[in-house]
Amino acid sequence: MPAAVPVKGKPFVRQLLGRSDFAIISDIVEPGTQVLDLGCGDGELLEWLAENKGVEARGVEISPAKVQRAIARGVSAYQGDIDEVLPDYPDHAFDYVILSQTLQETRQPLKVVREMVRVGRRAIVAFPNFGHWPVRLALLGTGRAPKTKLFPHDWYDSPNIHFLTVHDFDQLAGKEGLVIERCYFLAGRRRVTFLPNLLAEVAVYLVRRR
């Protein structure tokens, strides 16, 4: 399995709407494209993409309160469970399907990834890296389910139900025959180019079907 080569760039990544992964996603998305954001929250990213990149933006969100806020800001979002709604879409209905920091919360992540690259010509997956060294240290040191800045929840009330690392995603991509077009690793606003599985807090992958 060839390790993905991270995209080079300035050592610090700017922030968009307070998040560096959003900045990267917004750089990836080409203007005028059709975008589906899975777990779109209150639609901030989609609103930004619609206004600044002229994309046709759609969103799915499971929280009724967040969907309301997304619609109120003009985003075509609907209430739904991403595990359930993706099979409804025809192949390549979108240019990009985005899943930002939600893969670890889905019930069937493999199914979600497969559906993303079917429904979208490309998929953008951002996820928190469970291989980040403080996570490893916390488990080793305390012998308990790790609680870190990145994974702040107690095991019993965490929304995260499937933990994965950068290596895990690389391996999955290889097994599923996905082409990793680009990948980015972040620690806070810092770009990580060395030992990402150990040093990255968040990974952002742009993948497609072969």
């Binding site: 619609a50 309301q68 997304a70 109120a72 003009g74 985003v75 075509s76 609907y78």
Partner: protein, 368 residues
């Protein structure tokens, strides 16, 4: 803002049943101003017992419109920005031709000789009104319950004329439960000896039957929770049970009051015809598939349902959303939390207004 109901008469309208109505008039009101490019018009579609008086204060009656909390300056349908139209439906009894209208052939009210009408017929008459107002394309069509059915019908039958559709608390096809409640209402009217096969216009109207029909309706518009909150088991102006069949409970008093009020403003035959139109509503006709029905749809959609609405439950809205998603159409959907049952779209409007406002603003940005 005081408003007057206006009316326009057309030579005739051909109906889905094959019958023809000659002539036909439609009552309507407008609020706000049509812009020069005629691109800011929104058609509001009323529910079963509504009328053309949707907003403002009626010049004639002094009463506010049925959706005055949602239509007006600065409100969800902002009349400072949009030109809002609302008309009374075909078959109604508030100014548009219906069974109580005079049949020019006989000089008497139509009664049961009025042809059976459909939601599609109501919408066709509305297209004639919109033509009359010189409007090519509507920025939006919006309505709850039967109004939502009309909004869906517009989007499906006149895709080129509707930029956005807002069907609220509605369905793409009337369910057996909805038909059942309508049938009980109709039977109550027809069982009233004053109904006289619909020929009561020169005498006493079937007030008892119509009131019972309305009482049933009101039960279905509320929720178990809203009834517990509103009435509980409270007694009406008494400390103890009366041990008779006069009014004991608040809820009885409320239903009787609603029933008796309704009789003063609504025609029993209109009740029969309009509920029949609802029951015939099924967008899967004639192809048998909702997906096929939505094939030609180009409008953007905002679908809204309410958590406690058991008459038009959320699954019916979700069915519409799923079909639109499969066709890869532009759809926003939310189930709003409310205890008010089906009535929520009329009374619990704060969150509904937020989503409508945002949806319309972004529709405008893309289209005006």
């Amino acid at each position: 803002m005081t408003v007057d109901t206006q009316a326009v008469e057309f030579d005739s309208i051909s109906l889905e049943s094959g019958a023809k109505l000659t002539p036909v008039s439609i009552a309507y009101e407008t609020y706000g101003a049509l812009n020069a490019s005629k691109s800011n018009a929104i058609l509001i579609l009323h529910a079963f017992s509504g009328d053309a008086h949707a907003a403002g204060i009626s010049h004639e009656t002094g009463k506010p419109g049925w959706w005055d909390n949602t239509i007006g300056p600065g409100k969800a349908f902002d009349t400072d920005k949009y030109f809002v139209i609302c008309s009374n439906v075909l078959g109604g009894c508030q100014g548009t031709t219906g069974p109580a209208s005079i049949n020019p052939q006989t000089g008497c009210p139509y009664g049961m000789s009025f042809p059976v009408i459909t939601i599609g017929d109501m919408v066709r008459l509305q297209t004639m009104l919109v033509d009359h107002l010189g409007i090519e394309r509507l920025l939006a069509v919006a309505g709850g319950s039967m109004g939502g059915m009309q909004a869906l019908e517009w989007a499906v039958s006149y895709p080129d004329r509707v930029i956005a559709a807002i069907p609220i608390a509605t369905t793409a096809r009337h369910s057996p439960q909805q038909i059942a409640f309508n049938e009980v209402g109709r039977q109550a009217i027809m069982a009233d000896p004053d109904w006289c096969e619909g020929n009561y216009y020169s005498g006493k109207p079937p007030g008892r039957g119509l009131a019972i029909a309305r009482m049933i309706g009101h039960i279905t518009y509320m929720s178990d929770e809203s009834m517990r909150e509103k009435f509980g088991r409270r007694l009406r102006e008494k400390e103890k049970f009366g041990f008779d069949f006069s009014v004991d409970f608040e809820v009885e008093s409320y239903l009787r009051y609603r029933g008796s009020q309704f009789v003063t403003r609504f025609d029993a035959n209109s009740y029969l015809y309009i509920t029949k139109a609802e029951d015939y509503f099924d967008l899967t006709n004639p192809t048998g598939s909702l997906t096929a029905a939505f094939q030609k749809v180009t409008s953007r959609f905002l679908v809204i349902s309410f958590s406690s609405d058991w008459l038009y439950p959320s699954y019916q809205s979700e069915e519409i959303v799923r079909v639109l998603r499969r066709a890869n159409r532009n759809v926003a959907y939310c189930e709003l939390p409310s205890n008010y049952g089906h009535d929520a779209f009329l009374v619990d409007v704060a969150e509904q207004s937020d989503v409508i406002r945002g949806f319309l603003a972004s529709t405008c940005k893309e289209n005006i």
